[in-house]
């Protein structure tokens, strides 16, 4: 309990409140706008975090992350065009509700569902953190290596249609992480005599180019010719008693499943929303049924993705294991500020940890309050043509990248990674595992080297304890499952259908089929 008070002390400072507000507002806006996601926004604001200190940086980045889960559903419901990938599921029933003349109710319920989901997620964190940090004390190099490897492979292969691609991205990311001075021997690796590369590839240009510019360039054609018809008034947003009754269980179910899914590395808010939707399908359905404008189809996924966005912080902060690209950015921001996330974080910096948790509460509350009157503004914002927004984003990327080291070389690197990023999208490679590999690769190397050195070159050193054995075993199991899946005949048709549906239900210009 006193931990919460400690957290409140941190979170209620003017500075933290300010950055919380900035973060959730940016997150909301970014979530609403199609074509630019929370990842790109976090990447764009990453340079800013260098100047503001770890608490404010964390609060702001986190605000963007869970804030975007609130906004993402707006475009889904109004335009059948998901503002963020995790809102793709919301579009299925949400847009139907809008067409049936009830967009306001859908929007209102998603806000409520998001708040409840987020709250459940926060409670989960508070409950679990104590448990995990005790376990974390037992971590030595062998354990770290096993867990890092597990996280990397899980993030690259689990729930992935193309695990081989994910794995290859992970390896490339780890190789990129080797560029620069080797920590052990101070030998400059893969620098080709370039002085700027001696300190290694900078995370900012990599993230900006690969995630920011590449996705934004590819969206230039699609996110454009859409119009919104009706006006949304406050009165039109209020749900009926029936709506509320039907939403209670889906929200609860979605919150719980989302909280659990969010903790696992490799699964993110998108998977959480799909899982929640799929779960709802198994229950007796009302009228209209799921897929035709059922409020359950809006409430459950929205609760789930918000819950997942909160619990995603658990492995990052308590184990030092970022489970997704967004978490990798949070992880990177902490490292830059000289803080090492991991089991010792809670005991060494309880102010930071609990301050962040309390700010989650605040942020969710802020979003709840802000969202309701903002709906009208979102509608107007979404009508701004993408072709106007796009050049501003590019310029912001340039200035942001340059502002880190005042070195044009970083901007050239961003250029390089933008081109590479587009290549990856074309070849259907997901960039997220690359970022994880880039950030965690050096850690994996250090721990591997230590373990081998301690065991005298003997591989049995890796399975020296229960924890390391378990995780290594799980990693091997995942790889074997993947290999088996490669040889197996056909992929499961159901999952393919469920994943394809939202995308294929839209023409490129947003009309629905």
């Amino acid at each position: 309990m006193d931990m919460i008070l400690l957290g409140m002390e941190q979170a209620f400072t003017l500075e933290s409140l300010y950055y919380c507000f900035v973060g959730v507002s940016v997150g909301m806006i970014v979530g609403v706008l199609p074509g630019i996601g929370s990842l790109a926004a976090m990447a764009l604001l990453l340079p800013m975090t260098f100047y503001v200190g770890p608490m404010s940086a964390l609060v702001m980045l986190a605000g963007i992350y869970y804030g975007s889960e609130y906004g993402g559903s707006v475009a889904s419901i109004l335009l059948n065009l998901p503002g963020s990938p995790s809102s793709a599921v919301t579009a299925i029933d949400g847009y139907q509700m809008a067409r049936a003349g009830r967009p306001g109710v859908a929007l209102f319920m998603t806000t409520i569902a998001s708040f409840i989901g987020g709250s459940v997620g926060i409670l989960t964190i508070m409950f679990l953190s104590g448990v995990i940090s005790t376990i974390g004390m037992a971590f030595g190099s062998a354990e770290y290596f096993a867990v890092v490897l597990f996280g990397l492979v899980a993030a690259s292969t689990v729930g992935n249609d193309a695990p081989l691609r994910g794995l290859s991205m992970m390896v490339i990311g780890m190789l990129l992480g080797c560029v620069g001075l080797d920590t052990n021997s101070a030998v400059a690796r893969f620098t080709f005599g370039n002085l700027d590369l001696r300190s290694g590839l900078d995370m900012v240009p990599l993230v900006m180019g690969l995630f920011g510019v590449a996705t934004v360039v590819m969206s230039v054609m699609s996110a454009d010719k859409v119009t919104i018809k009706d006006k949304i008034t406050i009165r039109s947003m209020l749900p009926t008693a029936e709506d509320i009754r039907r939403s209670i269980m889906p929200i609860l179910r979605g919150s719980i499943s989302g909280s659990l899914v969010g903790i696992l590395p490799g699964t993110g808010t998108t998977m959480a929303s799909f899982v929640a939707y799929g779960t709802e399908k198994r229950f007796k359905q009302g009228n209209p049924p799921l897929g035709k404008g059922a409020i359950e189809g809006v409430a459950a996924p929205e609760a789930a993705n918000n819950a997942a966005s909160q619990t995603a912080f658990v492995p990052t902060l308590t184990l030092g294991l970022p489970g997704s690209a967004s978490m990798a950015i949070v992880f990177g921001a902490l490292l830059i500020n000289g803080i090492t996330p991991g089991p010792l974080l809670i005991s060494q910096r309880p102010d930071l940890f609990w301050g962040l948790i309390v700010s989650f509460w605040l942020g969710n509350l802020l979003l709840l309050i802000l969202n309701i009157p903002m709906i009208g503004i979102w509608v107007r914002l979404l009508q701004m043509p993408y072709r106007l927004l796009f050049p501003i984003i590019v310029t912001l990327v340039c200035v942001g990248t340059y502002s880190v080291n005042y070195n044009p070389f970083d901007v050239w690197m961003a250029l390089f990674f933008s081109a590479v990023g587009v290549l990856f999208i074309v070849l259907r490679f997901q960039p997220a595992p690359l970022l994880l590999g880039f950030i965690l690769g050096p850690l994996a190397e250090i721990h591997f080297r230590n373990t081998m050195s301690i065991s005298g070159g003997n591989f049995s050193g890796l399975i020296s304890s229960g924890i390391s054995t378990t995780f290594l075993f799980a990693t091997v199991a995942m790889i074997l499952t993947m290999i088996y899946g490669l040889f197996a005949a056909a992929r499961s048709p159901n999952r393919h259908e469920a994943e394809k549906k939202p995308k294929e239900s839209l023409h490129r210009d947003g009309r629905s089929r």
Binding site: L164, R189, V220, P391, V394, A419, G457, N458
Partner: protein, 151 residues
């Protein structure tokens, strides 16, 4: 002729080449032994693993490539304009200062969409310049000269 998934093959080839290159390059550094790892060992391992994964991807594309969705269209004009915009910024920022660099980057990337005429582009450039000044120079207090040598 069997349907080959060219996207997978191309992707796999890319991975194979890049990882293979890293593998070969890592030999110029000392390898050491497992118990005393030197800089070259870990990248070599990674390169080898990556090479295999790339090969697996190629094989996957050849044998199970039927039904693969072909490469999606790249908005070439947008890509070229954007890359040019970033390059322009990189060239100019040190020598000419913030404003010219921002003008160039916004202007060039605005060219991505043919519907942006000259007036729109200038408007955007001005908007970008003000936005950047407010966020980076005023709010964050970064020492970025507006025009090099002038102010």
């Amino acid at each position: 002729m069997r349907q080959v998934g060219w996207v997978s093959v191309a992707g796999g080839a890319f991975i194979l080449l890049v990882c293979g290159a890293f593998f070969i390059l890592s030999f110029q550094y000392e390898m050491g032994s497992l118990s005393r790892m030197r800089p070259g060992l870990f990248p070599a391992i990674l390169g080898a693993v990556g090479f295999l994964v790339g090969a697996a991807l190629i094989v996957n594309g050849v044998f199970k490539g039927a039904g693969e969705v072909p490469v999606e269209g790249v908005p070439l004009r947008a890509l070229v304009c954007t890359l040019a915009a970033i390059a322009g910024f990189a060239f100019l920022i040190r020598s000419t200062g913030l404003l010219p660099a921002v003008f160039v980057s916004t202007g060039l990337s605005a060219l991505s969409d043919p519907r942006n005429n000259l007036l729109t582009t200038i408007g955007l450039a001005l908007a970008a310049a003000s936005l950047v000044s407010v966020i980076f120079v005023w709010a964050l207090g970064l020492p970025l000269p507006f025009i090099q040598g002038v102010f």
